[in-house]
């Protein structure tokens, strides 16, 4: 009994997935940077690190929601780019911000309906929308430029209720993610549908009377919504529109989710793992920048870490 609780805490035989390997690497990286780098433990770097990590954490939460369903969303990066392009249009922020989310909801609906009704594989469906949405973003803003309304810049870089804005919004968005995934009926049904998929019992969730198709579409809408939030965050930071700003985020978010122990086969995963995964990715990037490693080497190291961490997850012993 006791042992089971300990195992579950470390993600063994649990539905959360194994996140301890990623956490160990985070701790090791922090220790290493504290010892080796004088620039790491400065307020300036901490603020940088947080600002770098936030968009990835946000987009990874949305990505995790579709991955728990045994899906995948490759269109998130394009949605982020489109968001910055829309925000850099001429117009009132009170019109542009709703427009951003309207666009995201449309992308999510197209993804979800293509998967559910047309039976397109999630990778193909979201790969298609990735191209479509990127094209629209490039039509709106062929090269980086323009300016984002001050309102957006203020809410992202200023402070809210005396708390630095990234910290405040971080807590709000993570709280929202927790509520969706671990504190709602929808979240539980995500695991049910994904678990049925992973264990080859495709009809089981349906037999329980779950509205599986509606839940799948909703998951893709939520994923696109989180991508729009992440895009909003970046737009506030760079204060302009950039059609290539999201290009790395589709694969980076999947990497963060996988490092955090969420299984791409569906049904196993959790918010804390995903956040740990996203933080690890940002911390590594930050550390490697401080160490002046070349961008090419950084990419290679990211790959090694991904393989290592997922290899250490002892996937067989997990919930499925």
């Amino acid at each position: 009994m006791h042992r089971r609780k300990i195992n579950r805490f470390f993600g063994k035989n649990s539905r959360q997935g194994n996140w301890w390997a990623a956490l160990l690497i985070i701790i090791a990286t922090i220790l290493l940077l504290l010892v080796k780098s004088d620039d790491f433990a400065t307020p300036q770097n901490a603020s940088n690190l947080l600002a770098q990590a936030m968009p990835l954490i946000i987009v990874a939460i949305g990505q995790m929601i579709v991955i728990i369903l045994a899906g995948m969303d490759l269109s998130v990066g394009s949605v982020m780019s489109l968001t910055t392009a829309i925000l850099a249009l001429d117009g009132s922020p009170y019109a542009l911000i709703p427009l951003v989310f309207l666009a995201a909801i449309c992308v999510g609906l197209v993804n979800g309906v293509a998967i559910v009704k047309l039976n397109v594989h999630p990778i193909i469906a979201t790969l298609s929308t990735q191209f479509i949405v990127l094209g629209i973003a490039q039509l709106l803003r062929p090269v980086a430029g323009g300016s984002v309304p001050d309102f957006v810049v203020t809410i992202v870089t200023g402070s809210v209720l005396g708390v630095p804005a990234p910290v405040f919004w971080g807590i709000v968005i993570v709280g929202l993610g927790w509520k969706i995934v671990h504190g709602s009926r929808f979240g539980l049904h995500l695991f049910a549908i994904g678990g049925g998929n992973a264990s080859g019992q495709l009809d089981t969730a349906h037999n329980f009377g779950l509205k599986d198709e509606r839940n799948i579409v909703l998951a893709y809408v939520i994923s696109a919504g989180f991508a729009a939030l992440a895009g909003l965050f970046i737009a506030g930071r760079i204060a302009s529109g950039d059609p290539s700003v999201g290009s790395q985020f589709a694969l980076d978010s999947i990497t963060a989710v996988a490092i955090g122990g969420t299984q791409l086969s569906g049904g196993v995963g959790g918010l804390h793992g995903t956040i740990i995964g996203a933080i690890l990715m940002s911390l590594l990037a930050n550390g490697m920048n401080l160490a002046n490693l070349s961008a090419f080497l950084q990419g290679a190291i990211k790959g090694v870490i991904l393989l290592l961490v997922v290899g250490l997850q002892s996937r067989k012993k997990m919930g499925l």
Binding site: S184, R185, L188, G195, S199, G267
Partner: protein
Amino acid sequence: MLPAVTFKGVTKHFGPTLAVNDISFEIRPGRVHALMGENGAGKSTLMKILAGVHQPDAGKIAIAGRQVCFANPSQALAAGVSTVFQELSLLPNLSITENMFLGKEIMGRFGSPHRAEMAQRTKEALSELGMSLDPNTLVSELSIAQRQFVEIAHGIKADAQVFILDEPTAALNAADVQVLNARIEKLKAKGKAIVYISHRMDEIFAICDDVTIMKDGAHVATQSLSDLTPERLITLMVGRELNDLFPDRARDLGPVRLSCQDLRLTPEASPLSFDLHSGEILGLAGLEGQGQSEIVRSMIGQYAANSGKVRIGSQTVLLPVTASAGVRNMQQLSLGFVPEDRKEEGLLLGAAIRENIGIGLQSARPGFKPLAKVADVTRRIMADLNIKAGSSTTPVGTLSGGNQQKVLLGRYLASDMDILIIEEPTRGVDIGAKVEIYRLLRELAQRGMAILVLSRETVELIGLCDRLLVVHDRKIVSELAGAEASEHNILNAALTS
């Protein structure tokens, strides 16, 4: 007293086939009602109609006198019909509680599920079955037996009045079957109606009160089991007597094909030896779990025996053999092994019949020189074994249990094996297919094959085998000729050893 379930003229078509044809009978509360018939007789379809998976084309169903019409299984459960299907229907990555309340969660404040309340109710439902599992345990951590009990608890929680158990014992060992039977008695004492589907005759007579027999989608009879004998029941099911099920025994035996010498399963066990002759069907009998399956599995390297040797022809294999080499080596010595769990260990369910039969031939060949004539071989085997399927490219998973078993046998036939070891040759197979498989095994023996059979069904071993070895406590305690064996003297030999 109102009947728990009343079927009245229930009819269901699937395309042009009539699966259930004008069925009318009643199931009474506080009784265990067996539903019997060959596979394809329509009993599973009828139960799926009752459980809300299918909707009838015509006819009426009443639960406790009230007419019902279910669109899906969760509506049926809400109306008091709980089903434990053959295919497991719990989600492995959810806890017991979450499975029990899935789709009907109790909600607490702020739109969050009320976990404590649900866990408490789950605990109560489990304890009614005498189980003290932690309701937060993931289903993936439970044994098959526990999962089935959880499904029954699911029905108890929903206050079901009718429990449908579709082959509940197919995956259980003897001890778990005992526990299940005790729990069925408990439900019965509470006035619940239980529908019990099984192919095991002894179980039916041990726990059921009434029986309904179906054949080809139609109703044959509904009567009290105390008025029936097993022979009479089989006659009603297939229109044949029990003796007709089994082919004649071998007249004379050929030379020794396989000789197992001084096999010790564990260091403490006393050695055992036996010979298997060409043209013979030899059975390993005895109580369950006494080492029968370890004996055969140690020969193919899936159980690490302590010591021993197996002589096949001029070759001698020293035991233990490693798992990776075992089956392949034995195949080269033309020994085929048909495992008990054909879905898990034997067949590739998603692959075509042709691939499943061909794989035995292909695996004996170099990787880049596959055999081209698999289609011809498959056609011949399918005709020989009377495998009923649309074509040789039909996925095996869509076939009935009997046809699946024949495909598996066909694989070894295609490879011209001299020796065949079969575990549970007719597990989950209906009577009609059983007869065919018995006849087939006898034909193979007559052609000179040596066959070793393991089965939980003693009647089957007695009817089929020429010779029986009674295994008890990891040794052979008695040898009986098939013609002289009876359930009584096998049990006697096992228990007085």
